[in-house]
């Protein structure tokens, strides 16, 4: 029964996986431009961000088509409405990776303790994005919960980067715009962690029917 609908839902899942993979790639490439001044990689991040914009529209159209044609209820409705919410966060992740890549153009390949911390922070944020999308596709409650728990680690890194930057300014007043640029980059990664958290919250909704915010 409903094999066509099941195929469409499977297609929705693969589109979500593809979007998740693009997010990871965008963040990973943007992170690469922190230590190396690479215009080619920067261009690639911008391209991927554009692709994510397009994917968001495609998945949105697919979800609206499913709502219209299949009039889903229960688990199917939750899966489709969660996907509709998640793609907005994924598209924002792409934008933020692009913002990071644009700022790193002013760093000129600067490397230091702060950039190492930011790179570690980026690795955590990428992990959160991967896990949140995996949790959606596999309907894995424990993995979604792990993403929520992980956000504290990313937030912790942000505090560390901030402290390092304060120390940087204290040691040398002539550092120019570096600390500000690095702080913005760190803030973007912290926001990416928040987006992954949002995604994980919608995953939990798609499994349980209860969104964290509605429990308040």
């Amino acid at each position: 029964m409903r094999s066509r609908f099941d195929e469409q839902l499977a297609r929705l899942n693969s589109e979500m996986i593809a979007m998740g993979a693009l997010c990871e790639e965008a963040i990973a490439l943007a992170t690469k431009t922190i230590g190396e001044d690479r215009g080619d990689i920067r261009k690639e991040v911008i391209r991927i961000s554009g692709e994510l914009d397009q994917k968001e529209r495609d998945v949105e159209a697919l979800c609206l088509k499913l709502l219209l044609q299949q009039q889903p209820v229960a688990r199917d409705l939750r899966q489709i409405s969660a996907a509709l919410k998640m793609i907005t966060d994924m598209e924002r992740i792409g934008d933020q990776a692009e913002d990071i890549a644009e700022i790193t153009a002013y760093l000129g390949g600067y490397q230091g303790r702060e950039t190492e911390q930011i790179q570690a922070m980026a690795a955590e944020a990428i992990g959160m994005v991967t896990d949140s999308v995996d949790a959606f596709v596999r309907r894995d409650m424990a993995l979604a919960q792990a993403v929520l728990d992980h956000d504290d680690i990313v937030d912790g890194y942000f505090t560390k980067v901030k402290q390092s930057l304060i120390a940087m300014i204290a040691q040398n007043g002539d550092v120019g715009e570096y600390p500000l640029d690095l702080l913005m980059i760190a803030k973007y990664f912290e926001r990416i962690g928040d987006h992954a958290t949002n995604i994980a919250e919608w995953v939990i909704f798609s499994i349980t029917g209860v969104h964290k915010d509605s429990e308040l």
Partner: protein, 249 residues
């Protein structure tokens, strides 16, 4: 929620075939309850049992109890019961007589003969069924000249004319176009302030749109009963989930 109809351990057999299997269910007053389930699941049989439309059929055996307003329906006079628990069928079935006489038929059989009283009852019932404005100028015309949607609203008016407390509806919109369907749905929603409505429907979206409570029947059993919103968003039983999401049935 105060129940107006209560079924307890209700079993029903047509000959040797069991159609209802230990149904225990409270129907809340002044609300709309949808009965859903695949064909042959017992939902229509259950509906008909509530105003005794099948216990007089030959070969039918019933055990368990059904009470209406605390009274055993099987010990109640059938005419009195059906006055309080009215029925609207799947296919509009106006009598081949005038619109007025269709609506006045029930009150007349219950002894109301004064024209003034009948006029008042007919107008009120037609107004309550949201068809008064469409027929007020042709009350003496034959009801069979009305459209399908109008005929169904006339049948609802006819049921309302005897001032029932409960309206049973067996797929009341399945023979109607979408506009007539939405008028009936609108009407049913307005009527629940004054009546209790129990509706069999094959249209899941209709159950979601209209009803407050939903009962899911399968193979003569009541699988799940609950608030419509929660049954359609987080069904408890896997069979309910599979049915409402179209995985079987």
């Amino acid at each position: 929620m105060k129940p107006i109809i209560t079924a307890k351990d209700l079993c029903l057999w047509y000959g040797s075939a069991q159609a209802l299997d230990h149904i225990t269910l409270d129907i809340p007053e002044n609300s709309i309850t949808a009965l859903i389930g695949p064909s042959g699941c017992g939902k229509s049989t259950f509906l008909k049992t509530l105003n005794r439309m099948n216990d007089l059929v030959e070969g039918v055996k019933i055990t368990g109890t059904v009470t209406y307003a605390g009274k055993d329906v099987f010990a109640t006079d059938v005419n009195q019961l059906r006055k309080e628990v009215g029925m609207v069928f799947q296919k509009p079935n106006p009598f081949p007589m005038s619109i007025y006489d269709n609506v006045a038929y029930g009150p007349r059989t219950h002894g109301i003969t004064a024209k003034k009283d009948l006029d008042q009852i007919v107008e009120q019932a037609l107004r309550d069924a949201a068809i008064w404005d469409e027929v007020k100028d042709r009350l003496k015309k034959n009801a069979l000249g009305l459209s399908g949607g109008q005929q169904q609203r006339l049948c609802i008016a006819r049921a309302l004319a005897v001032a029932p407390k409960v309206l049973l509806m067996d797929e009341p919109t399945s023979a109607l176009d979408p506009i007539s369907t939405s008028r009936i749905e609108e009407l049913v929603t307005q009527l629940k302030d004054r009546y209790t409505i129990i509706m069999v429907t094959h249209n899941m979206q209709q159950a979601v749109r209209v009803s407050d409570y939903t009962a899911f029947f399968l193979l003569g059993e009541l699988v799940e009963f609950g608030a419509t919103e929660s049954l359609f968003s987080q069904p408890v039983d896997r069979r309910t989930e599979d049915y409402i999401t179209g995985r079987f049935g």
